[in-house]
């Protein structure tokens, strides 16, 4: 793994690490780490620092849905144009171009089932190039971005074993 990749994989797991801590862990000077991170931010290798939230454990639960969208690609613009019209909505968390039985996978998060349904029927389905949509609601999140939900991190090892 290269230096950049190592820093990235550390930050991807824990964005709260300071440059100082990273520098110690990978055995490089702090200013080198700071510069590398700044460069990666500028060149948009690093796009942001987010917090992974289990909203189910809060008062403001929301629903997540995966929407399969079939579209006709547009001349000169392929899928990008219609994808952009969809992913610009703030409810859309992620949007991917897919191989296989459908074209766009749109992941939407909203307050309730109704809000998602309305969003699909009012904003996505009516688009000219959209042929069909299929909405799947998420019932339970087991693992997200490499983190297992509801796993108790506890240490069962004996206190002193030589």
């Amino acid at each position: 793994m290269g230096r950049k990749e190592e820093i990235l994989s550390l930050l991807e797991r824990n964005a709260k690490l300071t440059s100082e801590e990273i520098a110690v862990m990978i055995g490089r000077p702090i200013d080198e780490v700071e510069k590398t991170i700044a460069n990666m931010e500028n060149s948009q290798v690093i796009l942001g620092y987010h917090t992974l939230v289990n909203w189910e454990r809060t008062a403001s639960a929301s629903v997540t849905a995966l929407i399969e969208v079939r579209v006709t690609p547009q001349r000169d613009m392929g899928f990008d144009h219609v994808a952009r019209r969809i992913y610009r909505y703030p409810q859309v968390q992620s949007c991917y171009l897919m191989s296989g039985g459908f074209d766009l996978m749109v992941i939407v998060e909203d307050k309730g089932l109704k809000d998602v349904a309305m969003f699909v029927s009012e904003k996505i389905a009516p688009l000219d190039s959209v042929l069909s949509t299929r909405t799947h609601f998420v019932l339970k999140k087991y693992k997200m971005n490499g983190t297992e939900f509801n796993e108790q991190a506890s240490d069962h090892r004996e206190a002193v074993v030589l």
């Binding site: 793994m1 190592e6 550390l10 824990n14 801590e21 110690v24 862990m25 990978i26 055995g27 991190a153 240490d155 090892r157 004996e158 206190a159 002193v160 074993v161 030589l162």
Partner: protein, 393 residues
């Protein structure tokens, strides 16, 4: 009836662990303390390896294996030893699969030692070495290694420790508790002394996979002339986070391995079948499983060494295993008091260095086989504790 009196002399005279009291204290506080005292990985066995064990059970592989272990596991070990350390062992005659490296150490000692035979043991070291020698009726000859030598046995020290009665030299590098690793040159120099005096070597290489740049592990068995007088103890516990599976192995000259297998056969029968099936998966894709853990250990290692030094403790750079072994004498405390007070005042458990031999006095063993969050918090407390103690001192 006084049962105590009826116990075998060797067992009765086996000195109990010097830090028993500390063990009890740490275990009483278990759950309320951060433990950096543990000599086993915090990682769970990689899922694919666990899955191989589960699959083995699904197939109904619940029977004894051949005494030396399944042939396909021995073949995997043989291939691994060749590819990884350039050591050649025949799966048919030179390898026995054991219940952990622990059993392999015991088998080797019992197969070689007659009453009165001397065994050279550099300290600080894993606590089982002396006990195994003692129980076999041998005489453990401890060699105190020092911080000045990064806790490595020097050829001079070895030369001085060897007598006409010396049969075996036990080497444990990468080292528990110090993290010391021997370079190829250092190993060659030790091998020369061993050859000169026609001794045998037990090389405990349980931590062979856990060395960190720029160190690389090289086995003394790979030195010219040493292959046929060395037993290499290998394991899965540390490299693959498989401590609870109880599996390890020994590789060495056929005649000795046959003797070891004879004891193994009567005392143990065979190692756990499920563990053997899981171990095959571990061996066949070793680097894939070890690399991510090794990288993570290395980051923690740098973090802990840095924190110890910032706290004001002298700390040589450990390049193997998952331990840091700082010198705590600046605090004016001995290792035992340091650990007891650190446990009481800051709720962090670490192990006094003298538990691993007298030359460990003045040092403590900090295990970084713990989560980064726990390590970070423990190091904050270490800094606070050392600062407070240095004011007193």
């Amino acid at each position: 009836m006084n049962m105590e009196e009826r116990l075998a002399n060797t067992v009765r005279s086996l000195p109990p662990s010097g830090i028993r009291r500390f063990f009890d204290m740490a275990n009483e506080l278990k759950g309320q303390v951060i433990s950096l005292s543990i000599g086993e990985p915090d990682f769970v066995t990689p899922w694919s390896v666990r899955e191989a064990g589960i699959y083995s059970l699904e197939l109904g592989n619940t029977h004894y294996s051949p005494n030396q272990g399944f042939l396909n596991l021995r073949e995997s070990i043989s291939r691994y030893m060749k590819n990884r350390f350039n050591l050649t062992y025949s799966p048919a005659t030179d390898i026995v699969v054991t219940v952990g490296g622990s059993e392999a150490i015991d088998l080797c000692v019992r197969s070689l030692i007659n009453p009165g035979d001397e065994v050279v043991i550099p300290e600080p070291c894993f606590v089982a070495y002396q006990a195994c020698v003692w129980l076999a009726g041998g005489v453990p000859v401890s060699v105190p290694c020092t911080q000045a030598d990064d806790f490595k046995l020097t050829p001079d020290q070895l030369e001085k420790a060897i007598t006409p009665k010396t049969k075996l030299v036990m080497l444990g590098y990468p080292n528990n508790p110090t993290g010391a690793v021997l370079s190829r040159t250092e190993i060659q120099a030790l091998a020369a002394v061993v050859l000169k005096h026609d001794c045998l070597v037990l090389s405990d290489e349980l931590y062979a996979e856990l060395t960190y740049e720029p160190a690389v592990h090289s086995s003394i068995a790979a030195v010219h002339g040493m292959h046929d007088r060395t037993v290499v103890i290998g394991g899965f516990s540390k490299a693959f986070a498989m401590t609870g599976w109880r599996i390890g192995y020994a590789c060495g000259p056929a005649v000795l391995l046959a003797a070891m297998n004879k004891i193994h056969q009567y005392a143990i029968m065979s190692s756990p079948t499920t563990a053997q099936d899981a171990a095959i998966e571990a061996m066949n894709n070793a680097e894939q499983y070890v690399a991510p853990m090794r990288e993570e250990y290395n980051r923690r290692r740098r973090f802990v060494v840095n924190a110890c030094r910032e706290a004001g403790l002298t700390c040589f750079e450990p390049l193997g295993a998952f331990y840091v072994f700082p010198d705590i004498t600046v605090t004016g405390l001995n290792a035992n008091d340091f650990c007891e007070l650190f446990l009481k005042e800051e709720k962090v458990a670490i192990v006094p260095g003298h538990a691993f031999g007298v030359s460990g006095e003045g040092h403590v063993r900090i295990s970084y086989a713990a989560s980064m969050e726990n390590i970070r918090e423990a190091m904050v407390r270490l800094r606070r504790f050392v600062a407070r103690r240095c004011e007193h001192a």
